[in-house]
Amino acid sequence: MSKFLLLLHEEPTAASNYSPQQMQDLIQEYVDWSARMAQAGHLLGGQKLVEGEGRIVRQDDEGLVVDGPFSETKEVIGGFFMIEADDYDQAVQLSRDCPHVRYGTRIEIREIDERHQEEE
């Protein structure tokens, strides 16, 4: 089993177009998905990221540059889930019915690299 990070990309303004009932139905879909994942032993956790915040630190010719916060950014990473899966194929399979595929913009799946620790 390997660990995978699911980065949930979304447009924060999309949520304001839903009606109360639609919002509730949507939340229920996420909660149901998480419960299914947890029951099957795949879900390790999840977190929401603070909205409109964020910094990028980098070096350019002038020196150190800090960008952000990013409240104007159209698409953001709203949060992430950490899951356990055999390989990328299974991680994709598990993410496929996450409601975020339909309601967010996309899910980025990245495997946590634990192999090299063992080799060393």
Partner: protein, 432 residues
Amino acid sequence: MAISHEAEQERARKMVDHLFRREAGRIAATLTRILGPGQLDLVDDIVQDALVQALRVWPYRGLPDNPRAWLIKVARNRALDRLRRSSTLRDKEEDLKKWISQSRGEAGQPRESRFVEELSDDQLAMIFICCHPELPPASRVALTLKTVCGFSVPEIARALLSAQPTVAQRLVRAKRMIKRKKLPFQVPPPADLAQRLDSVLEAVYLLFNEGYAAHSGEALVRRDLTGEALRLISLLSAHPLTSKPQVHALAALLCLHASRLPAREEDGQIVLLADQERSRWDRRLIEQGSRHLGQAMRAQALSRYHLQAAIAACHVAAPGYAQTDWKKILDLYDALIEIQPSPIFRLNRAVALAFVEGVEAGLESLLEIEDNPALRDYYLLPATLADLHRRAGRGREAARFYRRALQCPCSGPERRFLERKLKQVEGASSRS
């Protein structure tokens, strides 16, 4: 990591049915009391913000232990933010702060068990202001759906078969009128209560009818609307201030009508009262309706809801269509028409009359409403004429009226029903 397996499994429970709609209505009512009915737009924004916030957070973290308290707290904080930016509203801060402690109940425990039954005075006042007689009837229904029932503009438009801009405009005008006329946010004083209650009941009745008799689209019954109407009327009939005979009468009427809904449609086809499988009627609603009817009888004078409920009770009481007490129904329609001479009641009376005195008597009584402009696009008039002619053995006449009925606006199931009937009478008259 925030979520352990066990904790997540424990939290993965269903949210209470329509929690967000209900909570939107509750929060809006309390905010309107605190901020004033002139601030309905601001109230709408704050409610929407709070719900959006839940949508942004709960998918990642799972449901909070007390979803209601969570939403109220976020709404209160949003409201405080907005107040601090407005000089006119700053004095409302203390009231907003009190809100949280009030909503928590004893020892901070959520009161889930009383969830649906509970109607706060705030919500009652909200219903009264949405149905204020100063507002046009169509706006009352739209505003009630928006602020009390937590419907969105597209949902209201779909429910009332109106265009979205029309609904949006009605809401804007209604809110503006509330502000301009400074309509008070309160349960009306005893002297005004009866009249104000009438306009509330009218809105609930309209709401139910919109759901019960959808005259276009595919769904014969829009359960969302009948459900909301039933909820509102049961809230009103349970509240000590509004538990009046005419309220119970309308509650009885709606329960008894709703009890027949499960048998009214099969595979997208209408099933007429005559052919309905009576075992499929909802016994619970029938009992509830009968109880309300009993309480309604404390009245000094009978309202139109009393008489309509009594008619509905006759139908539910009959073990079969043939055993229906049509004489009693006819008498009730006569009394009803005396209170309200509606052509639709006359149409229904003609059906009863045809059973009591014969088809020709029924047809004759329809002559006086046949050209009524209010019924011009009402398919049930030609459909009733067609049925009476069919029973009198005049297939050609029947076919003519079924064709006329098909030219009126009707829903998919209604259309298919009329087409089926037309085929039957055409088949019968070509054989004879």
